[in-house]
């Protein structure tokens, strides 16, 4: 009923191959985008933007990057935090070495550098698979963090060892640094995420994505039908690391403003991996849903007791929060192991038939 497709005829190949072939989906996305660009900067207060929406966008981008690698190409990676750190420190070095450089250019260049590092650590993926590959990427995580902590050059020899995002303007508006307002940073983060998500969505529908999925589903079969495993896997590592690198740069420039290496430790890699698993492996939408779940639910749980007037001691409340959050993760994995994205597609099917289910 709501999703009635009756009357939507596809008369050209182009309309049949559209990203969102169903008109309702298309409208929903356009309206959603318009709302996302217009409403929060006008309505939301700084808490919403700074503590909720900006981290959500950044984590979504990182989850998207990991989803390309793990969900589509089937290469398990625990190096996300390390690749994000590469992006952050590369963007920091570029922005401080070339002050005239546009920050978006710096972000994308940092993404390219992260991609190169990703390729380097992706080389073992030809030989090792599954959990063993996870261990190899774990090495990347530890090595990269150690490197940034050890070598003072990466933070311009700051005595404190923290990288601080320099103030930069775009078209006369402060976009980074302490003076940049939250709405501006939000819009910039959103624009980057939307652009990159659009590219990712197209990538996974095309030849590259199909090659990745072929490798994921049966690498020997894929090789027999003419897909070269090494370039395909390395491309997956490169593009995934590019996304993670841009997310890392955003984490430094648009969210935290200054970081120490602890911000990119192994916990971050796990967090992003959880987002991908909970959101749905092999789904662009799942990356966003997973990031939303991991970012928003703890904030809800922190605020809920006070909202209903329950004045619990701080430590008890935090422990309850952790327990409930853990419980929710287990619960969702049991009711829908394929993630929140799958839950959404099931719901969509139901809506298409409603109110006349078979």
């Amino acid at each position: 009923m709501i999703y009635r497709e009756a009357g939507q005829f596809k008369t050209t190949y182009a309309s049949d191959q559209a990203i969102f072939p169903i008109a309702q989906d298309r409208w929903f996305v356009w309206i959603g985008l318009a709302v996302a660009f217009v409403v929060p900067p006008l309505v939301a207060n700084e808490y919403w933007l700074q503590a909720v929406l900006i981290p959500f966008l950044i984590y979504a981008l990182a989850a998207l990057g990991l989803n390309l690698l793990t969900g589509y190409a089937g290469q398990l990676s625990l190096g996300t935090g390390g690749f994000m750190a590469v992006g952050a420190y590369a963007a920091f070095k570029l922005a401080t070495a070339f002050p005239w450089l546009n920050v978006i250019v710096a972000f994308l260049a940092a993404g390219v550098i992260a991609a190169l590092v990703g390729v380097l650590f992706g080389i073992p993926s030809l030989r090792i698979k599954g959990f063993y590959l996870a261990v190899a990427t774990l090495a990347a995580q530890f090595f990269l963090i150690w490197l940034f902590n050890k070598v003072g050059w990466f933070v311009n020899y700051a005595p404190s060892g923290t990288a601080t995002a320099p103030p930069r303007t775009m078209a006369g508006v402060m976009v980074t640094g302490p003076q940049a307002t939250a709405p501006v940073r939000y819009v910039l983060a959103l624009a980057l995420v939307v652009g990159l998500a659009f590219i990712a969505k197209n990538l996974v529908r095309g030849r590259v994505g199909r090659c990745w999925m072929a490798i994921r589903d049966r690498d020997i079969a894929a090789e027999i039908i003419g897909i070269k495993p090494l370039p395909t896997k390395l491309l997956a590592f490169a593009i995934s690391s590019f996304y993670c690198g841009v997310a890392g740069a955003e984490l430094l420039f648009l969210y935290l403003g200054s970081v120490e290496t602890l911000a990119f430790d192994i916990n971050l890699s796990f967090l992003v991996l959880f987002m991908v698993i909970i959101g749905g492996l092999g789904s662009v939408l799942g990356s966003f849903l997973g990031a939303g779940f991991i970012v928003l639910v703890p904030i809800f749980l922190t605020n809920a007791p006070r909202w209903i007037g329950l004045g619990l001691p701080t430590d008890t409340q935090k422990q309850i929060e952790l327990m409930v959050f853990g419980g929710l993760i287990v619960f969702f994995l049991i009711v829908e192991p394929r993630g929140l994205a799958r839950l959404w597609s099931v719901t969509k099917e139901k809506l298409r038939l409603w109110p006349f289910p078979h």
């Binding site: 808490y47 935290l256 602890l262």
Partner: protein
């Protein structure tokens, strides 16, 4: 309608409702001092006594004096788990309620708030932690790190070693090892120690320990091979107790191991048992319950059942530090209220209060803190107060002070600090203010 749909609805509800709940309720006619604390996570053993001390002193003021100048204090804890991202979430949530001062209690969170302080007009007091360079008030008007900084502390440590060895000239050829948490916090003392090593001719070895610091075997093997004369430890959380245990297990003379002030609390030495006996650390406050202010807390707070923690933990090292921290903050607020003749000071006025704070020995006595900590005087340029430190020692049962107040080497520290302030200030796009024009 299946279960699935229900789950979807539930999930959507949770996701949408989360941040909505952070709605701010208007406060009237109270002084709002939020506390960023960590009572859970890997740093909880250090964070819990601190948080109790902070809260209990505010409760004491409310119970005994009816607040500050007759205006009640409201407070609220926010759990950060020592994690920067959670700290930022806390800060953004509490910010709307008009906090008069924030105490981040984490180096990572402090760096976040330093950048925000000037924009949000909320003073940051990072008492003995955070960014050392922020002690230059000309570049960082909103940040205060008195009574003293890591650099001053490191110089006081070297001075103490000199005293023990019979003069600073005796340091030549001595070996000192710095075992530090491999993070911006742990590295803070390194430039000062390096400078002093050059100046006094001792041999300095820097040994980093990676977060969280549970594994230190390799580090202490190196210590054993180097066989240094003195060891200085900059640790936090679980790293501290492991370091003390390891030092004891290689039979290093414990009275030659000195922790910084975050590496010397009860939780750090008790796990090492007898081995920790003799271990030293620097201190900003005297430990124990034999002070009028602590007795007042026991009487007015704990006897009324309003204590934040266990009564037996009152008087622990970190507990007392929390008390002193809140004393400084409330004194600054009091000064602002008196000077501007207001019941509800603004962040700017409290900043003025901090900058003109002068807690004399006489005032300390009035506050019941004679011998508890040292007097402090702020100025426009100096947000550190150049405070001296003491050395305390663990006798197997309790901490006791074993030195006089040791003045830091200001001539060494201050010029370096001012250079660093220019660098850090420029990074944030600040400019230097002219203190001669301020009144």
């Amino acid at each position: 309608m299946t279960r699935r749909t229900l789950f979807m609805a539930l999930l959507a509800g949770i996701l949408a409702a989360g941040p909505l709940l952070a709605v701010v309720s208007a406060q009237d006619k109270t002084l709002y001092i939020p506390l960023l604390v960590y009572r859970t996570g890997p740093y909880a053993p250090s964070g819990t006594p601190l948080a109790n001390g902070l809260r209990d002193y505010l409760t004491l003021l409310n119970e005994r004096d009816g607040g500050i100048n007759g205006v009640k204090i409201t407070t609220e804890e926010c759990e950060t788990q020592y994690d920067t991202k959670q700290g930022v979430e806390c800060y953004e949530r509490l910010k709307g309620k008009g906090p008069l001062v924030v105490n981040p209690y984490s180096t990572g969170i402090t760096y976040q708030l330093i950048a925000k302080a000037a924009v949000d007009k909320i003073p940051v007091h990072s008492m003995g932690y955070g960014m050392t360079a922020a002690a230059d008030g000309r570049w960082f008007p909103w940040v205060f790190n008195f009574p003293t900084t890591y650099w001053s502390q490191a110089s006081a440590f070297v001075k103490y070693v000199g005293q023990q060895e019979g003069g600073l000239d005796k340091l030549k050829g001595k070996k000192i090892v710095h075992v530090f948490h491999n993070s911006p916090y742990g590295k803070e003392a390194n430039p000062t120690l390096e400078e002093l090593a050059r100046k006094h001719g001792f041999e300095l070895t820097l040994l980093p320990v990676d977060h969280p610091g549970q594994e230190q075997k390799a580090t202490w093997l190196q210590v054993r091979r180097l066989n240094p004369n003195w060891i200085y430890v900059s640790g936090w959380g679980v790293m501290n107790q492991v370091a003390v245990k390891e030092a004891a297990s290689i039979n290093f003379p414990m009275d030659h191991v000195v922790g910084n002030w975050w590496t010397g609390s009860e939780a750090d030495v008790i796990p090492a048992g007898e081995g920790a006996k003799g271990y030293k650390s620097t201190a900003l406050t005297a430990p124990g319950q034999n002070f009028k202010v602590i007795q007042d807390i026991l009487k007015h707070v704990y006897d009324k059942g309003k204590g934040a923690g266990d009564k037996t933990t009152v008087g622990e090292v970190l507990y007392n530090r929390g008390v002193v921290n809140m004393m400084f903050d409330t004194e600054a607020i009091r000064l602002a209220m008196t000077n501007f003749k207001t019941q509800s000071p603004t962040g700017e006025q409290v900043r003025w209060g901090f900058e003109h704070l002068n807690v004399s020995e006489k005032r300390l006595e009035e506050l019941g803190m004679k011998g508890f900590t040292r007097s402090v005087k702020m100025s426009c340029e100096d947000h550190e107060g150049n405070g001296p430190v003491m050395v305390q020692q663990w006798d197997g049962k309790k901490w006791g002070i074993v030195s006089d107040w040791i003045e830091p080497m200001r001539d060494v520290v201050r010029p370096k600090l001012e250079t660093a302030a220019v660098e850090e200030g420029k990074k944030l796009g600040y400019s230097q203010r002219d203190c001669s024009k301020e009144k």
